[in-house]
């Protein structure tokens, strides 16, 4: 069975999570214990690799734990995972989190309601021709630099 290493950040987060502590710990254990060196577990699911992670956090993966989000690295082949951060969502007792949640839900509704302006699609052949013309114009512009008068006065 694999284990879950906690750094001081996540350890403090869990310890200060009040009456949710036992439930969070139990859920975290459940995620790690289901895996072993030979068999991947819930923390190895393809969905845990998040494509939007910036370069230096590329190794960081994310898994949902009830309302909360666990950030971690590692894989079952090592038989341990390194948990680094837990985004704890407490329903009803933290106004900032409620506001964040509300903002995300509004963002989601807007995305689903398709409130993105319509785009004009161009004919790919026409687009390619335009790009070629643009490139040629740029080359032409540069050819001024080769002209003897340009070299004489500006170089």
């Amino acid at each position: 069975m694999c284990s879950l290493n906690l750094n001081s950040v996540i350890n403090e987060q869990i310890e200060s999570s009040g009456n949710q502590r036992a439930s969070i710990e139990k859920k975290l254990e459940g995620l790690a214990f289901g895996a072993n060196r030979d068999e991947p577990g819930l923390l190895d699911m393809p969905d845990t690799h998040r494509k939007r992670m910036p370069g230096d956090l590329r190794e960081v993966r994310k898994h949902r734990v009830g309302y909360h989000r666990l950030y971690y690295s590692g894989r079952h082949t090592n038989c341990y995972y390194d948990a680094c951060y837990l985004l704890i969502h407490k329903k009803g007792d933290n106004q900032a989190e409620l506001d964040d949640d509300k903002r995300f839900q509004e963002h989601l509704i807007n995305a689903l309601a398709d409130k993105i302006p319509a785009r004009v699609l161009e004919d790919p052949v026409e687009k390619e021709l335009k790009e070629k013309e643009k490139q040629e114009e740029q080359i032409e512009e540069k050819s001024w630099e080769k002209a003897p008068w340009y070299k004489k006065y500006w170089s």
Binding site: N7, V9, G30, G66, D114
Partner: protein, 161 residues
Amino acid sequence: METIRIETADASRQFATIQNDNLTLENISGKMNEIMRNVNILKSLEEISQHTGNYVRLLPELSFMPALIGSDNQPVFLYRIIEAIDEYLDIDKIQDDFSNLSYSQIAGSIFFLRKVAQMNSQKIDIDDLEDEFELSDPDFLHTLEMAFNDKEVVRVLSQPE
């Protein structure tokens, strides 16, 4: 070929994908099949909703993503209800009733239901949207970087021997 104007971003996105690929009939047919598969799944979900009291709604203005409508007329997405079930669920008790199933299997089934509840006609990945939202906050990003760089293990959650 004329420039084509597509009225909705949804259709625009789907047709853009077709245009970006090589314009062969096989490609177009493949994409259309994919769209139709998605439509058929949503149609099935709508039928299930109708057979179960229509509490769960699949509304066009929400890209048919399953939702309940609250007393304030605001949608509460079904996937959030599944998250709430997961939050309060005692998997050990379920395992008592289904001793042949592992913790991972039961938890995995909840994740599966949550993903099904996130289906929508635009094929928007809700978790991806959530990542984009979270990671756009520089304070959160900084906190996450700091946490990731803290490599010292202070406690290990492991199975007692």
